[in-house]
């Protein structure tokens, strides 16, 4: 590289004040998200008088975690994973099997009731090792082959849980999964709160010794789960952004941009990609254990391709490689899928009533009524939303600044070549 080029590049960096900009926008997004996370449960409960919205937000949090994890694989390392839900399933089943009566009726004939906090980590490690096992023979393949292998894996895992009912309950799913519990002394300052109450006269067995301790269970309290998922997400964000700025993160980026060049620079591409794969899978296992606990039910239907595709859409739409963008993308898609689309039929109906087309609402022969028709249209609308969003912002809602600059650079270069072509012809 000749010195003048390097000099101009440095001055470009300085002129755009790239570093400050990256810090500014992302920290603004984080700040808003954190504030919303704090205010949301109170506002929602004040406005609606129930905790239904909070429990939905807890579910959305699962997808945020999944999106953060997939972002490591897809956004950082540039590996396309189309079967991410399989690792989610592995995490969820790991918790479900070892924290319910399920294994009692399996060939093992012994129930396990390991505590949630331990199983969070175990689920993480099991999913990570599954990721490593799958990645080990396949990561040397070019990107698209990896996508195909993960796609196949993603179909195999839920199918296996269907086919092995003596272990996984098959189509009947695993129910009655243990709720997380904490020793009673942790309630300390909140001891008087009505939602987090010590179960009267209850004791929980400490797994590593035979002592009993007074405890309180989460039961189905959405607030408690909400707090846990917010803490989990915060931990995940801190972990992942530290990884991103570490040597490993730079190696991922190098591989994403040009694998051959990265290998030539002395990066062990197989190990680095394997780490991305395993770390990404571990977040999925983490989320899976939480998912199993919060619903107390794990069914193979929750882990098919649609889930993998949804999480991928969240990552790409949010802005690959940018953690704050991915979180926003996950929340937006979750909102579209679980609030906007289900609410559409009734809102269309009331709209038709207000603008004087109320006659359309009646069911009549082949016409299922406006609400029914909108219900049928949901899939179509979701597809259109995906296509439109991608066409309008192919780089995602909040792409990482580095990528954005690349985009602008590419556009400028293209323009230049076009001008050149016009001159020469």
């Amino acid at each position: 590289m000749n010195p003048p080029a390097a000099a101009t590049r440095r001055s470009l960096m300085a002129r755009l004040r790239l570093r400050e900009r990256i810090r500014d926008r992302d920290s603004a997004i984080y700040g808003i998200l954190l504030l919303t996370a704090l205010v949301f449960p109170m506002a929602a409960m004040y406005a609606t008088g129930s905790t239904a919205l909070v429990s939905q937000a807890g579910h959305a949090g699962t997808f945020v975690l999944l999106a953060i994890g997939l972002n490591v694989v897809v956004g950082f390392a540039g590996l396309l994973d189309l079967g991410y839900a399989a690792f989610f399933a592995i995490g969820a089943y790991t918790y479900a099997l070892f924290a319910s009566a399920q294994l009692g009726s399996s060939p093992l004939h012994h129930q396990y009731h390991l505590p949630f906090w331990l199983m969070l980590l175990v689920g993480m490690f099991v999913a990570a090792s599954a990721g490593a096992l799958l990645g080990f023979p396949t990561l040397r393949l070019r990107g698209d082959y990896l996508a195909i292998v993960t796609l196949g894996f993603g179909e195999i895992v839920p199918q296996l849980s269907y086919n092995l009912p003596q272990w996984t309950g098959g189509i009947n799913a695993i129910g009655g999964i243990d709720q997380p519990w904490l020793p009673a002394w942790i309630t300390g300052p909140w001891a008087g709160a009505s939602s987090i109450a010590i179960i009267q006269g209850s004791t929980c067995r400490v797994p590593w010794s035979s002592t009993q301790t007074p405890c309180f269970s989460f039961s189905f309290d959405p607030i408690a789960f909400y707090v846990v998922i917010v803490i989990m997400i915060i931990c995940a964000v801190i972990l992942v952004s530290n990884l991103y700025h570490s040597r490993l993160g730079r190696a991922w980026m190098a591989i994403r941009e040009d694998e051959v060049a990265a290998a030539a620079m002395g990066i062990n591409t197989v190990t680095t990609k394997l780490l991305a794969f395993a770390i990404g899978a571990s977040f999925s296992g983490f989320a899976g254990a939480y998912y199993g606990a919060s619903f107390s039910l794990v069914s193979p239907d929750d882990f098919f391709f649609l889930v993998s595709a949804t999480v991928l859409v969240m990552v790409v739409l949010g802005g690959m490689g940018n953690i704050s963008g991915v979180i926003v993308g996950a929340l937006v898609i979750y909102f579209v899928l679980n609030s906007l689309l289900p609410a559409l039929p009734s809102s269309v109906e009331s709209l038709a009533n207000t603008i004087g087309l109320g006659s359309l609402n009646a069911q009549n022969g082949d016409w299922p009524g406006l609400a029914g028709e909108t219900q049928r249209l949901q899939f179509l609308i979701y597809g259109l939303i995906l296509v439109l969003m991608m066409l309008l912002r192919p780089q995602g809602l909040f792409p990482s600044r580095v990528r954005e600059q690349e985009f602008k650079h590419a556009a400028v270069q293209e323009e230049e070549t076009m001008i050149e072509q016009a001159h020469t012809s």
């Binding site: 698209d144 996508a147 394997l274 780490l275 597809g383 991608m390 192919p394």
Partner: protein, 349 residues
């Protein structure tokens, strides 16, 4: 980790008698499968041949869909998720048009024949037009975008097509007019093996279409342009090939085959549903990978083999394991023989 990676490298480059160890793995697994099947064949030859007949018919349909996947992947490296739904759409539309004729489902009349001859090319052209539109709307604007962007729009278009069919006919599976000759006069039993007219029809039509495609790809100017674009898009452009037109033509031809496949599927099974394309698409895609993605004869052979494997697995392993067997094969092929059966590799771009 370090040693793991090197061990893997060594494993992959270990050679014995000119072949690498993974190649041996591939051959050993294939040989084991063949031996197991041979055992079944000897135990009950009639059943084995019968299963083979069904497998070939299924495989012919998978091959038609797989060709579209492999052509699109070969030329723009896109896993076209909407392709399976184009296939289903072909079945839906042809079923609807057939319903407009005064066809007779009980016996084969002249009207049936006329309807068949008219609807076949009609639905193929119609699906071709739809696929070109999809390419124009959802993929062409993203040609220079990050590689995942068109993948997401492909998933989106798949939802859109499924949504259209869902809206049109609802979630239940629907009946497809049974207009092919069937019944006692049009089936025969050779040594206890049942062969119907439909089985023959499916296989003959598929072979005819694949032969046409092969002639088109190898003998015409546009076919040559497609091969050139798949090899190196920039160089092809420099040679004066209109890239956009060539890619659109690829989508068009892929959809012709998928539309025909959809109609044949309907005629064969007489039962279609709105998300039929999802599973069929995945299986057909596996077939394309099995044959070596980007490789056109490979997709045809892969489709046939996957059809056979699915049929054998349905009968000898149990139908609930078929999906696992197919995707297990997919992973196994990629691990042991990433280039697919016919060994062509799309050049790294």
């Amino acid at each position: 980790m370090e040693s793991g990676a090197t061990a893997l490298k060594r494993f992959r480059s270990l050679t014995m008698g000119g072949m690498t160890l993974p190649d041996y793995g591939f051959y050993v697994i294939s040989a084991a499968a063949v031996v197991l099947l041979a055992g079944e064949a000897v135990a009950n030859p009639t059943a084995f041949v019968q299963i083979t007949v069904f497998g070939v018919a299924d495989g012919a349909m998978y091959a038609l869909v797989a060709l579209g996947y492999t052509m699109v992947y070969g030329i723009i490296e896109l896993i076209n998720f909407a392709h399976g739904d184009v296939f289903t759409m072909g079945a839906y539309i042809s079923g609807a048009i057939l319903g407009a004729f005064s066809i007779n489902e009980n016996s084969f009349t002249a009207v049936n024949l006329v309807a068949l001859v008219i609807v076949f090319p009609m639905v193929m052209l119609f699906m071709g037009a739809i696929n070109i539109t999809i390419e124009r709307i959802a993929y062409r604007p993203l040609r220079n975008a990050p590689r995942l962007a068109p993948l997401i729009t492909a998933i989106g278009m798949s939802f859109v097509l499924e949504g259209i069919m869902f809206m049109w006919k609802g979630p239940a599976s629907i009946h497809f007019p049974d207009i092919l000759p069937h019944g006692p006069g049009f089936q025969t039993t050779i040594y206890g093996v049942f062969v119907g007219f439909k089985d023959v029809f499916v296989v003959v039509t598929a072979i005819f279409l694949v032969a046409l495609l092969a002639i088109f790809i190898n003998r015409t100017r546009l076919g040559k342009a497609m091969r050139a674009t798949a090899q190196d898009r920039d160089a092809a452009q420099l040679m004066g090939i209109d890239i956009n037109r060539t890619i659109a033509a690829t989508f068009f031809i892929g959809a012709l085959l998928a539309g025909a496949g959809g109609m044949i599927w309907g005629l064969y099974y007489n039962n279609i549903f709105y998300n039929l394309g999802f599973r069929t698409g995945l299986v057909a895609f596996t077939a394309a990978v099995f044959g070596g993605i980007g490789n056109i004869p490979g997709a045809a052979i892969g489709g046939l083999l996957i059809g056979l494997i699915a049929a054998y697995s349905d009968s000898y392993v149990g139908s609930k394991w078929t999906e696992i067997v197919i995707f297990g094969i997919l992973i196994g092929v990629l691990v042991f023989r990433p280039t697919g059966l016919l060994g062509m590799r799309v050049p790294e771009k």
